[in-house]
Symmetry: D3
């Protein structure tokens, strides 16, 4: 049951100030390369599948370094093209307690991925060589060419019989003043094409402009998600509710809506090392559960545990194996394996 | 409402063993330069004011490094003189949980600051170029020449119409066996000159030898501080109560006594990264509130939030902007800004 | 009351990935040298005794580095022989929260210690120069030659009037399929020779195959330990109950069985930096209390505090002085000594 | 004779892979902030003058870090404006022996400096507060707005009686296909305004399109530089000839053309640690010599020694004091001062 | 002309003390994974070919880390099997000047590769999927099973029409007392199967026991290599002469014997950063020249430049692209590309 | 022929900025503990002897760290006393090429060693437990109490039949304006007591005020050293001539004067990593040669090779074994041992 999964999306360079210093205090940066697509396909590679990235990297040492890093993660680089001069970068300064972490983007819009010229990708060929394609809403915010690529690829996948996964993620700062109004039709195009969607009630309310009279988050979720599934004919919708506790631990509960029915994981509470990428881990767990034909209960529990473990590893990219996740679902606490 | 604030005091080199190793276990030291005066004026620089240090640095590479560091913090070095061979140093070994941190001072008494010859500073000229001067009780422990400098500067500031801030801090290990008896008259001299004093009931009891029949700390505070204000004609007295909780978090509550009335902040509880310098952050927040004409409620809340944030940054020196502090006062928890 | 204590056992090289990265993510390793014997005797050296290791190190730069490290800890190297090519190594990847730490052993069986040829040690001579010898059950798992060395040394110590300490520790992965069955007679040989044994009810149940109808751990302990003491004529048996709490703190309670009577420490709860070696700290505290003639209450409290402090220091090897431990037993929380 | 020198130009973030690894091999980057203007004015600050930068930094943590760094170098930040989102960055991978170092620029054109809107700077006000302004030809390559700023500032400086320094540096990769043709008129505008120009015969030949029948570099220099001085009415032209020797040492000879006469330094040969910024050190030495009224011989020797020393320090920015440079001019080799 | 090249051989973990400290002085180790096969196929990957490793890695975190590292180098891991517990390791302490570097092997014989059970590899299947296979004489020293694997694979490659490369490298310390006598027949077996052999006159003399009356190395080479080629019917033999100069630079001259004729590169002299793996770079350059159909002159020059560049990069594994090497062959010295 | 050697002298903390940054540029310091006595006795420990330090370390974490470090070097700490608060420190900034290294002392005069109260050491007892005592002229510069200790110890050693080694080293900056005049009688006292003296003609000229009409250094040496030997009845005088070459290599030639006859080593030329402590290595080599009864030729060659190797190791303290040194004397260059 090994599947071939390709993600379409940007690879970014993460420049992280070590420890808890600010950029002004520090002297060195740790760097790695990530992105939603990298995270999801790398996670699935660790779960035994074959992962691919469909993207463009610059033709210079920064692009070389990104490529090496992606290969290290186990992703097959066959669908990566090279061109342009820039890779999107972001600086991450770790927060501590009452002081939040800060992400500062550097020159994302001009990246090789976002400026890849027409005709860069041959989506028909790629679609024939894969089973599943993953897309993220953040990518929709870039520009018309990228949005067109995204939809073309999704259509090609559908036509060749593949599965389309869409993460309905939305980042307000990237859409400017027009915001939801400008974004909604593009999200709808993707929702119509998708076989599985990652979202929760907030996406339904804000991105799709849906309304509910409920006040409680869970009630809103149970009100809106079935409507989304029906409107856009989406077989599976999944997502999480996440909250931060007073003692800086996080709580996470996963859900899945399939066959007109909701399944919820238990609420997990845990310490957090690096929270970026945890949503991608949840998505990869959900997808793996579906591929393996797990029950909805097991799938949601597996995805939630994958999400929890992703909060405990360094970097954006999940590293857990299937064994690690199954164990985190079932075992009582152990602090040392030897 | 930008003010010019100068602090009189020693600049010290902090040599910190990284992580949680002891000096005997480690191999490297992180170094920075700080001191109460550096902390307070640097914090005020971040809040939009102009900060100065009145001090003496050695004429050698250690002094050069201290100067560069102070400049980096945004402090204007115009009132720094150079002379002598030594900078006070301290080694900091981080504690963990039940194991306390340790500070070992190296050769503080022979520093260039503490041995600066007569006539080193022209306090009249300096006083005309500043609005506010900050002094710390620790400095009183050094020697007669330094004490004389301190009082002369405070008087000059008063004469030129400036404001005098005095932090009533007392460190027993520096005064030897004579202790409070020897220290008290010097503290009193400074209290008579001060427009704002940082202290709490413990300083009143131990340094000033005042007595109270109350047992509860807050009751003692409310009993003694008004007496101090009256005795020494101090317009504003402010300070904090701080405690360490079982789960290694700290709790902090600020107070302010002004116009015969107490104002208290709420008690804040938070995780701690580096506690040295947090009192200086509180003082700088208090001073900023007064400069800006905040209400007492807002000033105390601002100072307490400044103090809390200073526990979350690396090093002795506060780095929060006004925006950071206002946000910490009002916002619900966020763990990532992007 | 300074005693000379020698431990017989393997010195291993600990290769630790810094921070929370996995070996696959990291680039560098921090290395140190440890082992139960190193930990116990080094801890006792810090408590004022003279510590020795009876072991074999390879005749190459790895052995040189181990020797330097042991000397740094204050252990006298007179009873260390050199020979062979290999030092046992293990890679330690730190866990975080829900993700456990992992230890991967590299080539332990072929180490210079485990392959030291017949006649390597002159136990009679050594026994005359020491007061106490320490042995660990892990060592029994190695091979016949090592087991023979261990028992010969213990007998020589007894014959020369010395004291034998045996830590009944058992690691299942080292005994293969035969497991307890193969191990039991060797453990019994050591128990018959021992003056003080470190163990708890689990060792009695699993290693010695003893049975109890009790369900609660403490009840089991109080049921089985007196039987062990009687069966093998052991004057003192001591150990701990340890548990991990939901907020990742640990709880530890020490006990001691002597003169037909149990003494328990209070249950201590604390944050954990590095848990490896904490059992060795407890053992060294127990031994120090007995050497000094502390009351059972004080000895158990001292040992438990030593164990707690060992959780707060970097590396396997305890570093606390007697003063540190006494203070941790009695003082209220302090977070900074200056 | 302390002068106030302001440089107009971009501040860039230098991201350097430590040691000799490539970006693909490495994990961390050392970062600093530099630029021709930063280098020249910081160097002059170390020589006792007051240095300023006229530039724009982004309103985000990257801009904050750049500002702190510039302050650390002793540069007064009064003429720095804040705006925009990007700072120009470059990645530096160190070469070794036969393998050259590589610089990869990231998003330079969209930096806050290069996109600063019309009316950002008040050059009249600035010109009245300084004595000397420094400009670099690299800045001319950016865009029309920047070129216009540059010329306006130079004119304002001339009008207020100040001195204009122009470094005729040209980087082919920044001018695209039109190259010299597009660049020449802008260089000529600056040459007409300049009181001192840094250049050599290659700039005359390639940028200005001048021709010579000589083949030897020195002959070409002596042929063309007087013609440049006459054509553009430039009082002082100075520069260097630099070459790399087989054993990886570098050789440098400085020259100065003033009052119709050439002065050459001796040829200095030396080992190189970091060659970026050495030309800026030469320029600062030349300027310092002229300010101090040194003889041409002493000025050229001083500038060449400043250039040599800049090859021996970490980073782009020179750090030598006047004493360091005078000593390097005169003393025999010493390897340790204590 | 992209070829598929697989190398059969061990992957080792290199543990390098940073800088110039000994293991006893240091605290941290930099680690990477390499081996002749890794080096040669990774280098060819950088030259545009598809590289594979045929090897066995342990089923534990050390094996995971090795796999990630190999993937990062661009090697396709399809022919890697997992099993056993150990990876060969070596500690590298860098020498300086008169003090040589030291390599200490840890537990090489018991590695997963050297203990892979019978039937681990399916050489017939692998041979059909590749064009070229690379073998190294060091591997012959391991044990009978490994030697049998090696010969079986080489035969399978020949049978499926592929090309066999054999590096005649010999390490005395691995063969024990029987030495050359025991080794010779195994080397001869491989020589009979090889299409290209890496060796020089010393291998002929010592491993094959051939005699010559010449004294000069080049004369010996020209005397013996044709005899080797004839005896074992080897189409191409290539290698280098390397020497260390008084100023710690190295000199290298490559040769190639093909069609009864010798071709020599010029002697290149250069500074050395890390000399391990430079021979593998030469071999990969030679192989690339042959694949591309370069003239013998160009092939030898290309291989020698590849070897030189490998001395300038960190780690065992060459990183140069075809462009880097061609440029190093032709260009005059450049020290900075920007 | 294992000897017990004790050195009387100060232990200092070396704080070294890593790489080539200045203290103002850097962020971290590498620290170690050394001193002439530490260097000489540690070097002799590596050569198989038993080394001791007679000194005083502060009773604080800095003293604990120094003690651990000394133990790591293999020195037996039995003669170390604890007291006072300060350890002498120095900051070392590495030079590069034309830029010299800089040493900045911090508070040396107030160190625990230099302020050890009367009666700190029991030299009679110590003298009975050792064979050889080593003293350094630098120590004479400290104060009267230290000078008195030094002479008392030397006398006690002579009285108990031991050997006295005196290194005639002189540091002008420590003696103030009176300089040689004040120093000479103290040096003479030590010379009268010494069995072996480390010095050269410059010490004779400047410290002892001896005159010679020769101009060449070697001629001066051969003129003055026999006179010194006669005047003070010194059996052996040894030392080196050292020079720095244009390519930053150093040259060193050792000499020895014994039985009215000079022996010279060949001149060795080599690259230098860390030159501090190389003189101590020479001294230890000389002493080892004398202990072992080497011929003068072998002793001088051994000492010179020890001195050369000490230039190639990190830190002040020599690390070479007898085997390393013998090999450096005889072997042709090797760059890698494996």
């Amino acid at each position: 049951m090994v599947k071939r999964i390709a993600a379409f999306g940007e690879v970014m360079m993460r420049l992280q100030v070590p420890g808890y210093e600010s950029l002004a205090q520090g002297r060195t940066l740790n760097y790695s390369f990530s992105g939603t697509g990298v995270n999801v396909t790398s996670a699935l590679t660790r779960l035994g599948h074959a992962g691919y990235i469909v993207s463009t990297l610059p033709t210079n040492p920064v692009g070389d370094a990104a490529l090496s890093y992606i290969q290290k993660l186990g992703i097959t680089p066959s669908f990566i093209t090279r061109g342009g001069d820039n890779l999107g970068m972001y600086v991450l300064e770790n927060g501590f307690g009452a002081r939040p972490s800060r992400v500062t983007y550097c020159n994302r819009q001009d990246s090789s991925f976002n400026t890849a010229p027409k005709g860069t990708y041959n989506f028909e060929t790629i679609s024939e060589k894969i089973d599943i394609a993953h897309f993220c809403g953040i990518t929709l915010a870039m520009n018309d060419q990228v949005r067109q690529y995204m939809k073309s690829f999704a259509k090609a996948v559908k036509e060749s019989g593949g599965t389309v996964i869409f993460d309905c993620n939305y980042r307000p700062s990237l859409w400017g003043q027009e915001g939801y109004e400008k974004a909604k039709p593009h999200y709808e195009d993707m929702l119509h094409l998708a076989d599985m969607v990652m979202m929760n009630e907030q996406d339904a309310r804000f991105v799709l402009g849906m309304e509910t009279e409920k006040r409680d988050r869970k009630d809103q979720l149970m009100d809106l998600i079935p409507a989304v599934a029906e409107t856009y004919s989406i077989p599976v919708i999944a997502g999480t509710h996440r909250s931060i506790n007073d003692d800086d631990t996080h709580s996470l509960r996963g859900f899945m809506y399939k066959n007109h029915s909701f399944t919820f994981s238990k609420t997990m509470t845990f310490s957090v090392l690096d929270r970026i990428g945890a949503g991608d881990a949840y998505a990869s767990g959900m997808l793996h559960g579906e591929i393996k034909g797990y029950s909805s209960e097991k799938t949601v529990a597996f995805a939630a545990a994958a999400g929890m473990l992703a909060h405990t590893v360094v970097g954006d990219t999940p590293t857990a194996t299937e064994g690690d996740i199954l164990r985190a679902m079932t075992e009582s606490s152990s602090d040392l394996d030897r």
